[in-house]
């Protein structure tokens, strides 16, 4: 069944990654989010759609902004929200991920929103429990709601996705945000360039249909938008990593660089920003930045996702 070319049925119990979704499913989430955006502008910012449902935020990695965004989204849908924060070290000692999931299932919760430091953790959990699992970021793998809110913001600002040139700058190799954005944007017909020092470009990435560039000036020339990734210099890895200052000189987004870019280029960042490393303060607070709008849109997108998976799960049970 379609309305104006949009499919009406969401059948998945989980949202694990944009790699697994069709173009139509992504469009359905975006159009649903569009409807939800209005709820947050009301005086009473709440609808009863998930009344009586329990959403568990299961966070194995500290993350204030994603967790809060999901919590606000769930509450605006009238769901009850429980937050469980677990440091990896205690998990290593304690019960397995699947055991934790089954315990939450036994509490008769409905949706688990999980952040995990290992790639694929959400996939493993979803396979082993009946609850809906929403991936709030797993290792370097995917962060689907972040990419959805990025794309939602792009569409809102630029009116379309097909044909847009989007440049993603930063640590592509270790970024779940980059991966989810690449899947989502290419499926919707945008042209994606990833830009980073060679050591931060993962092998085979071109085969996902993106252009690889090591020259920021070049990569910004065509871009309608630039999505700037957070750099984690504190990363404790055996892999090579650039020096902070050197990175900013070559890949930091500055007003100078934006002047040479396409007029009206949009600057996005998943936050939290390292000012003076990924971009200058001037850019972060400037006219091209839509960073705070991303935060607002994140709520609508997460409301849409929570609503859709809850509905699909009820449908399956009925």
């Amino acid at each position: 069944m379609t309305v104006k070319g949009i499919i009406m049925s969401w059948v998945r119990k989980d949202l694990l990654g944009l790699e697994y979704l069709s173009k139509e499913e992504i469009e359905l989430i975006l159009s649903t989010a569009d409807s939800f955006k209005e709820v947050s502008t009301r005086e009473i910012k709440k609808v009863p759609a998930l009344r009586g449902k329990t959403v568990v935020n299961l966070f194995y990695e500290p993350s204030t902004r994603t967790r809060v965004s999901f919590e606000v989204a769930a509450k605006r849908l009238s769901a009850d929200v429980i937050n469980i924060a677990s440091e990896t070290s205690s998990v290593k000692k304690g019960e397995t991920l699947i055991d934790t999931g089954k315990n939450i299932q036994a509490l008769k919760a409905d949706i688990i929103v999980m952040r995990h430091n290992y790639s694929g953790a959400a996939v493993v959990l979803a396979r082993n429990i009946d609850l809906s699992v929403i991936n709030a970021g797993d290792g370097w793998h995917e962060h689907p709601t972040q990419a959805l809110l990025d794309i939602f913001t792009l569409k809102e600002k630029l009116g379309r996705i097909p044909g847009l040139h989007v440049t993603i700058v930063g640590d592509i190799a270790h970024s779940r945000v980059a991966r989810s954005n690449i899947w989502g944007l290419t499926k919707l017909g945008a042209k994606v360039t990833v830009c980073a020092p060679a050591m931060l470009i993962p092998p085979g990435i071109e085969e996902l249909g993106v252009k690889v560039s090591h020259d920021l000036g070049e990569a910004l020339k065509q871009a309608d938008a630039v999505n700037v990734l957070r750099m984690q210099f504190e990363r404790d890895e055996e892999e090579a990593f650039p020096k902070q200052l050197e990175y900013f000189q070559n890949f930091g987004i500055t007003a100078e660089r934006l002047k040479k870019a396409k007029k009206g280029i949009i600057v996005m960042h998943p936050g939290p920003i390292n000012r003076g490393i990924e971009m200058s303060s001037e850019v972060a607070d400037g006219a091209n930045s839509v960073i705070l709008e991303q935060v607002t849109n994140g709520i609508a997108v997460r409301m849409a996702v929570l609503f859709l998976v809850a509905q699909a799960r009820e449908e399956n049970a009925a």
Binding site: I6, M8, S35, E43, L77, Q311, E314, E315
Partner: protein, 179 residues
Amino acid sequence: MREKAKILDQEAINRALTRIAHEIMEKNRSTKELCLIGIRNRGAFLAKRLANAIEKIDNAPAAVGILDITLYRDDLTLIAAKPLVRKTEIDFDISDKNVVLVDDVLYTGRTIRAALDALIDFGRPKSIQLAVLVDRGHRELPIRADFVGKNIPTAKNETVEVRLEETDGLDEVAIVEKS
């Protein structure tokens, strides 16, 4: 699905709406504190038509809004096709207004219940009234319409289909029997 009878044609629908417009004005006197809020999908178009009819009577436009009640439904799992959540568009304050809710068919009353819940979240209207094109009976909640285009007694295995030019390409109301 078998179509049993045509109940209203375009002319009859127009007449019914004109009559309802007059009744609304009789009851509310002026468009100053009046607003019409249509329930998606067809109620929204009926609300616009009613507003046009009222403007002809009073020469002043009434505010028109659109309400999507998907998020307030109590039967999400019961309906076969999952409804698409669409936008609610009420870009005015409904507090202290006389709100006329508009829908195409009044049946169990559950849609109206959901709409009332939704409206209350937008503010505190002075009153809420209900206008429907067709009342087919079989109420499951203590809800009645203030303005009715036509009462059509139906059996439970029948449905009333309201077709509008905006959505279906023509104006008519028919009774359809479920097979």
